[in-house]
Amino acid sequence: MSLLQIEPTSWLFALSSLGPTVVLVLSALAVLAIDSLSPDARSNTRLAATAAAGTLIALGITVWYLLAGTGQPATGGAISLFSGAIVVDGMGLFFTAIFTSVAALVVVASYDYLEDDANPAAFYSLLLFATTAMSLMAVANSLATVFISLEMASLPSYALVAYLKTNRGSVEAGLKYFLIGAVSAAVFAFGISLVYAATGSLLLPDIATAIGDVTDLAGILGVGILMVAGGFLFKTASVPFHFWAPEAYEGAPAPVSAFLSSASKAAGFAVAFRVFAEAFMPALDVAVDWGLLFGILAVVTMVLGNFAAATQTNVKRMLAYSSIGHAGYALIGLAAVTAGAGANNATVMGAAMAHLLVYGFMNTGAFLFIAMIERWGVGRTFEDYAGIGRKAPMASMAMAVFMFSLAGLPLFGGFFSKYFLFLGAINAGFWWLAAVGAVTSALSLYYYSRVVKALWLEEPTGNLDALDSKPTGLYAAVIVAGVITVLLLPGFGPVIETAEAAAAAVFA
């Protein structure tokens, strides 16, 4: 037995299987190249076009793969690469589709946001690198790749949050994000080391196999699993690793907030789903009932996020807390997983995946709307938003769509995703999770509708002349996100079916 188990991998096949990731890397490099070749040129347009093209091509490839059945049971199942350290399957592609969609929206929106920026290339490349790392997170099949890709995603994110170097809020946000992130990374790494200590492997399927033999190291494994969970909780902004989120989302440039709260959160769930579903399922009976753990955390996260959001005065911060609340909903997807109930697990996890996809659009749209407001320089509080609906009806209407969809009104995609999540939970016997989810959703309607109220119901208080400028990219991104959010209600079928099929494949 060799010390490193190596299976020969065709590089070409690997590259094509990881097509989206490759495209993202290349476009990131292209952005850097453009900037290096003409460092003094105001090349925002070119950079944005490159970045947007990269993300859209990556998205296109992902969707194509999804439709073509790459890595899915239809074409022979998951594609295992690099000795099983990476697995391209439906779930990975599904999440990659989320990341690339969000990234594309954010890139398009950033075009306007960075109009006056001195060095947009750094922004785009950081964004693309983070997206690249996320696409890797979605396919990581070993705790090693999980850790590395997760850190690769985090590091550009820290920089992006603190991107506005001279803005105290941005720097403070970056600092807090970084510090909590560093601690979480350390906890995560320590957890991985403990899991390794108990099982002797980092490959997820091997860990699952090894857990059956763990006897006296069960405690070590348990601590390890809890700490690994901590790493994911950080990434998904769930209690108790959520502390960075309100400040990071509030202080960061709004497109970055959009990116982090949608794509980064989804990425955290992507790895969490895979790791817990593939590696730690047997641990449910042996070491730690992590279903219960996530159940408790889901409840606390839903309650904290939604209640704290209720009385915010700053819209962005409200959205930040709501984002925490939504992490709580998605956690149901992990909490309701039970040993040996494959179909149900697939239902609930698929619902969580679908929720993250819908959330990706509606939440990104919401933050991009805030980016638009920031661009106009109107202000950040609810009062400042008063009467914007009069001056910017299209964008405000889109924002209303996002808010109602986030609240789970059955008019838009957000309803079905949340509903199927609760349905899965109830089916799995976790009716109390669904109940808490329902109650907090009801509360969320209050604070989401406050935004709508400010936009549409209030009379303008301040000077809204700035709204005369129409940032095209931001508008386009917001409207596209809005339209997709609306269309996801009638068109939810393919989404949920894909998600459930992908989840089922993971549990199979």
Binding site: L409, A434, A438, L445, S449, E458, E497
Partner: protein
């Protein structure tokens, strides 16, 4: 396909109106809103179905198409009408057009958005009354709230924001309660779709199973109670009615018309469709509490109306009172009780619409609705005032007007009810509402419309313009027509409600 055509047209009309400049919006919206009337009248004339859509009767204009499938459940696009829903569809189209017309004077800002929202609401209301798949229905059900939220919140009175949010959150929470309850019910049934007929028939066949340790009987009771609460908020009945006066007082006239005229009927419609059709035995188990709720709503609502000094608030509380009759009719579980309750939905829709519109016309002229601020208006705006008087009498249940028909059917149905213990007592108590309603409406009319002319606000009172009066006249005409010939609707309503009784095992 007529229902689809109706829905598609109305949605398209809403989008179109959103897009046109403000100054064209009113006429365009009114013109467009006439088309759904024609559509619904065509449906009425072509209506041939018999029986109740849910209990296995014929469904008119039925279409079914799969929507999406999840967790073993098929969600469908499933629409159709029967004798219960058709009158409500007609009511919706009719009232929307009139409400749009009545908006001419009061709405002078952001017209295209206003009318667009009105049409959007109409489309969703049609959807509510035609949808036969639970999810489809629920989408429309909730979608109705959003336009109303904006209509109140943007074009409303001074406390409009409070009222709008209260309305919105309150009713949404209620929907949530109902939704969860219904889910629990469906999950305990061996069905593979959310089609309401399938669910109803499965329940009728006694296929309900236990739900997480909750025995089927208990589950059915809990679900009934939760759904009742959920719908009761929408109706609304005491004690979950407090959003209503706020919403009504702040809402602009056309929105009030729609709110009282159609939106409240959604609650009673849903009660009839869900609670009373699907769970008749549980209904009879809860008969006494529901009877008490009905009677308290009638009497207490009327007493509250008596205490008000704002004309709109008076009419608003009287809606609570009138809806109490509907609940009484439903719980009676008799032919005339249920049929009367359904009829009363339409009748009250027209009458409360008329009242709100008439009060609105007065408000347009006087800019006040406070009883003490005015008197003797009949002198200055006779036509509007006398129509208001006619409306008030309709509200009091004057024979040969629609309200009397509805109320009498309910009373005559519930008096001899066997499903409701002490039915004669409940009925007699509820009927006392007709005295109180006369009391507060007459008192308010005497103080505002009659006596020497006096107005506290600085407005020159002139006769109400034609476009304000026309919808009032149309409504009054409809009220009298239905009062003289209730069987226009009542026959088809009975056709659809009698099977419910049969399903309930002759309760």
């Amino acid at each position: 396909m007529i229902i689809e055509a109706l829905l598609a047209f109305t949605f398209a009309a809403a989008l179109l109106v959103f897009a046109v400049p403000n100054r064209y919006a009113h006429k365009l919206a009114f013109g467009l809103s006439l088309v759904p009337i024609v559509g619904s009248l065509y449906m009425w004339s072509a209506f041939e179905a018999g029986g109740n859509a849910l209990t296995g009767g014929q469904i008119a204009f039925e279409t079914v198409a799969p929507w999406l499938e999840v967790a073993g459940y098929q969600l469908q696009w499933y629409v159709g009408v029967d004798g219960i829903s058709l009158p409500l569809v007609v009511l919706t189209t009719f009232l929307t057009a009139l409400a749009i017309m009545s908006a001419w004077t009061p709405i002078d800002d952001r017209q295209s958005q206003f009318y667009g929202l009105m049409l959007l609401m109409e489309a969703n209301l049609i959807g509510v009354f035609t949808a036969l798949d639970f999810f489809l229905w629920f989408v429309f059900w909730e979608a109705v709230l959003v336009p109303m939220y904006f209509l109140i919140g943007v074009w409303g009175g001074p406390r409009r924001k409070y009222a709008a949010i209260k309305f919105f959150v309150y009713t949404n929470i209620a929907s949530l309660v109902m939704f969860i309850a219904f889910m629990a019910l469906v999950f305990s049934l061996p069905v593979d779709s959310f089609g309401l007929p399938e669910i109803t028939q499965s329940l009728a066949a006694g296929e309900l199973t236990a739900f997480y340790g909750l025995p089927a009987e208990t589950l059915a009771l809990v679900v009934f109670a939760a759904m009742f609460v959920g719908f009761a908020v929408k109706v609304p009945v005491v004690p979950v009615h407090t959003w209503l006066p706020d919403a009504h007082v702040e809402a602009p006239t056309p929105a009030s018309v729609m709110l009282a005229g159609v939106l409240l009927k959604m609650g009673t419609y849903a009660l009839l469709r869900f609670n009373f059709t699907m769970l008749p035995e549980q209904a009879s188990a809860f008969a006494i509490p529901i009877g008490i709720i009905a009677v308290v709503s009638v009497i207490y609502g009327a007493m509250l109306a008596l205490a008000q000094t704002d004309l709109k608030r008076i009419v608003a509380y009287s809606s609570v009172s009138s809806m109490g009759y509907v609940i009484l009719g439903l719980i009676a579980f008799t032919e005339f009780g249920m049929g009367g309750a359904t009829f009363q939905m339409v009748a009250h829709g027209l009458i409360s619409g008329l009242m709100f519109m008439a009060v609105g016309v007065i408000y347009n002229a006087t800019h006040t609705r406070i009883v003490d601020d005015m008197s003797g208006l009949a002198d200055r705006m006779p036509v509007a005032v006398w129509i208001l008087v006619a409306g008030a009498f309709a509200y009091m249940g004057l024979p040969l007007m629609a309200g009397f028909a509805g109320e009498f059917f309910i009373f005559v149905g519930s008096f001899g009810s066997t499903a409701l213990p002490y039915a004669p007592v409940f009925t007699a108590l509820a009927m006392f509402g007709i005295v109180i309603v006369a009391g507060y409406l007459l008192l308010a009319m005497q103080r505002t419309l009659f006596g020497p002319f006096r107005l506290e606000t600085d407005y020159e009172l002139t006769r109400a313009p034609m476009h304000d009066i026309a919808p009032l006249v149309a409504l009054l005409g409809a009220i009298v027509l239905l009062g003289v010939a209730p069987s226009l609707f009542f026959d088809m309503i009975l056709d659809a409600t009698v099977p419910i009784l049969e399903l309930g095992g002759g309760l």
